[in-house]
């Protein structure tokens, strides 16, 4: 069990005039499953390469267990990286791949063999040691890459979107497996992904990144339920967004003037807004309802464009005054009418809506 904390101390990384990472400042606790979540090109991979030692920070510093890592090469750090394409050595057998870290440390053949077999047992792939890498399936390669990284006996395992090449079923299976391995070996996992499902299901904590900036750090629930920026609200999970101007605020409740009319929501994080502030109001599709006589806090008429059935839910696509919206209803097995083409009144409760200052939204 290790308790080495990783501290990113005001780390900025620039390539020429391009800023890949802008002033990242956070602590990852030992033994934690920590994810960096963000769209491609947000700087999360650069940050990971910086922790593993392939890139030096332009400003700030990285410490692992209190030790400054500047000038320490990737081969000297207590980290092991699992590459996006896994980077298994194609010319070596599976066992040679796993034993490579021991080989370069000058450990004898017998001991290498023994350790490789142990690790193969651990990843539940006994007896494949003599196979060539290309004879393995995608999921097996995945596990071999993990075994090879564990052979280094690192304190921290870094994973760069390792599941992106797998098909959906296997991906879901590997999520459980990765989490189980992490809990079994008790290492710190730093996980990079653009897939919020992966981040939400596996992580202890998540850092959401956009354009080099860490937007929010928190546990999965906080990230999903209490986004702190417009980007996080729009990137994590599905959200309907209304752009508008603040008319008034009383306590936590904000009244917003939007294209569909006045809407009420809760000011996120106890912010206070002045009348006239440009804001977004976010509400999840599953929080939207069709108003059948009962008047919720917010309601407006909308044109139902089409309805999609996705097994567990029905998604109704709406348009109101040029704002595209989505309304999801859980499938409880009862037959519901197809509403496409009709005009309905939609609404949501103010408690379920969050008001956040203007900022970049996730690309749609």
């Amino acid at each position: 069990m290790t308790t080495k904390d990783i501290v990113l101390d005001h780390v900025s990384i620039r390539f020429g005039s391009f800023t890949a990472v802008d002033n990242a400042h956070l602590t990852i606790k030992g033994g934690e499953f920590f994810s960096f979540l963000g769209p491609s090109g947000c700087g999360k991979t650069t940050l990971l390469r910086c922790v593993s030692g392939f890139t030096d920070p332009t400003e700030g510093m990285v410490t692992i267990g209190g030790k400054d890592m500047r000038g320490v090469g990737p081969n000297k750090r207590p980290t092991a990286l699992i590459f996006q394409n896994l980077a298994l050595f194609p010319l070596m057998s599976v066992a040679d791949n796993i034993a490579f870290p021991l080989e370069v440390r000058g450990i004898g053949k017998k001991e290498r063999r023994k350790k490789a077999d142990e690790l193969l047992d651990m990843i539940a792939l006994p007896g494949v040691g003599e196979k060539k890498v290309h004879e393995l399936s995608g999921g097996q390669k995945q596990r071999v890459a993990i075994a090879r990284a564990l052979a280094v006996e690192p304190d921290i395992l870094l994973l760069d979107e390792p599941l992106s090449a797998l098909d959906l079923k296997l991906r879901h299976h590997m999520r459980t497996e990765l989490r189980a391995i992490q809990q079994r070996v008790g290492l710190t996992f730093i996980y990079i992904t653009h897939d919020q499902g992966e981040a939400l299901t596996m992580s202890d904590r998540i850092a959401v990144m956009n354009q080099g900036v860490v937007e929010q750090i928190g546990d999965p629930e906080a990230i999903y339920n209490r986004p702190k920026t417009a980007f996080v609200a729009s990137f994590v999970g599905e959200s309907n967004s209304f752009s508008g101007k603040v008319s008034s605020q009383s306590g936590k409740e904000v009244l917003l003037e939007t294209p569909v009319g006045p809407l009420r929501g809760i000011a996120a994080g106890g912010r206070t807004y002045k009348p006239g502030d440009e804001c977004y109001l976010f509400v999840r599709p599953e929080q939207m309802t069709i108003a059948n006589g009962v008047q919720p806090d917010n309601s407006f008429t909308a044109q139902a464009l089409k309805e999609e059935f996705e097994g567990n839910a029905r998604h109704l696509f709406l348009n109101s005054q040029g704002v595209d919206l989505r309304l999801s209803r859980i499938n409880l097995g009862a037959k519901t009418d197809d509403l496409s083409g009709s005009v309905i009144t939609a609404g949501f409760s103010a408690d379920q809506a969050i008001v956040l200052p203007h900022g970049p939204l996730a690309g749609t």
Binding site: F89, R105, R148, A151, V152
Partner: protein, 405 residues
């Protein structure tokens, strides 16, 4: 052939024509090696013979050149492959602007005429030699050394291109992974990148050996008073030809074909094994056939065939046939001489009859001496090639430069 994208009778026909152009001259040359005619040709066919192989191996200048070529080729491979590798690695790592500049510099030796390379090499090392006060018997004026230097200059660029092509397919994250797993940079190079490049080292070595062995334009300057196989060959071809060169072509083409077939067997086998279809394949699944198509057995089989054919060939004696041809020629010559005598007589008679007429020599196709040569019987001292240069032998000798001093 894929019809949709243009495979059709036209494409097939054109391809056949094209390959006829590619192989026609070589096949004809090969056939001439077995004709006893002293000039390499197919028509008229005289006798089947293998004596030209003997003539070839008896040519001491060619054989001496062969030894030089082997020595130089070995040296070039040993130097050019590492140099090419260094060049390719350097290019793979440099920033885009530096890379473009270096690439331009390193690729120029391929584009610059070989003649220019040869000249610059001897001029430069000659200047260095004079600079350090070395004599003409020193390294700087030694044909072997100069040829090595001249050839390495451009042959390395070939090797570099081979390595660059291979490096492009290298996944740089493999090196990073090795470093991350605790390897030192040197270990990562030796254990990951070098094994990946190994096949390219083989093909680069082969390519450089071939390029060195074949090179003429640069070598003809740098070899000075010595000769390599190719320069000896060229001077032999320029000064006059006999079918022993065709015999040489037979040997080289034979080696080439064996190499190509063994290589093909090797790649097919590899493909089969890699794809894992070997067990299902009719050939590779059958234990006997599978051994038979192993590259090594293919190689030995071909060698055995060649050995048998050469033994057969060495037993062959064209003496009887040649005697017949010779006799035939003699008779023909007699006839011609007779006819000429007759003509002379008639002419004399005519001259006497009409005195002022200028005498005309019987027209001999002197411009096409080769045709005449072949008519002369072998037993008599045939008109020497040098005295009566074959129509294309003298292109070079006939013209002396327009010198001023």
């Amino acid at each position: 052939m894929n019809k949709q994208t243009g495979g059709g009778p036209l494409a097939v026909g054109y391809s056949l024509l094209f390959f006829a152009f590619l192989f026609g001259p070589l096949i004809i040359m090969v056939v001439t090696a077995f004709n006893s005619s002293s000039f390499p040709r197919i028509t008229p066919w005289e006798c089947f013979t293998t004596e030209w192989f003997g003539v070839l191996f008896g040519n001491s200048r060619l054989m001496g050149g062969l030894l030089n070529s082997v020595v130089i080729g070995f040296g070039v491979v040993c130097i050019a492959v590492p140099v090419g590798l260094a060049g390719a690695l350097a290019l793979s790592e440099l920033g885009p602007r530096l890379r473009a500049t270096l690439y331009t510099v390193l690729i120029t030796p391929i584009l610059v005429p070989g003649v220019v390379l040869g000249i610059s090499t001897i001029v430069f090392w000659g200047a260095v030699g004079r600079g350090v006060g070395a004599g003409y018997d020193s390294l700087f004026f030694n044909g072997m050394f100069l040829t090595l230097a001249g050839q390495v200059t451009f042959v390395s660029a070939y090797a570099m291109l081979v390595f660059m092509a291979r490096l492009q397919r290298f996944d740089p994250t493999l090196t990073e992974a090795a470093l991350d797993l605790g390897a030192t940079p040197g270990q990562a190079f030796r254990k990951i990148l070098l094994p990946f490049l190994a096949p390219a080292i083989g093909s680069a070595a082969f390519l450089t050996l071939l390029a060195s062995f074949e090179n003429y334009n640069t070598t003809v300057f740098t070899i000075m008073s010595q000769s390599t196989f190719t320069t000896a060959l060229a001077s032999k071809v320029r000064l006059g030809t006999d079918p022993s060169l065709s015999a040489l072509a037979v040997i080289i083409i034979g080696i080439t074909l064996i190499g190509a077939m063994v290589n093909e067997a090797q790649t097919r086998r590899k493909d089969m094994l890699r794809s894992g279809r070997a067990a299902q394949s009719r050939v590779y699944g059958n234990p006997v056939l599978s051994v038979l198509v192993h590259p090594l057995s293919v190689f030995f089989l071909l060698i055995a065939i060649v050995g048998f054919l050469s033994w057969q060939g060495s037993q062959q004696d064209a003496g009887v046939c040649k005697q017949q041809i010779l006799d035939g020629k003699r008779a023909r010559q007699e006839e011609l001489l007779e006819a000429q005598r007759e003509r002379m007589k008639a002419q004399k008679a005519a001259e006497e009859a009409t005195k002022p007429t200028v005498s005309t020599q019987p027209a001999s196709p002197s411009a096409f001496g080769g045709a005449f040569n072949s008519l002369a019987p072998k037993a008599e001292p045939a008109p020497a090639e040098s005295a009566n240069p074959s129509p294309f032998g003298g292109a070079f000798n006939n013209l002396t430069p327009t010198t001023d001093d």
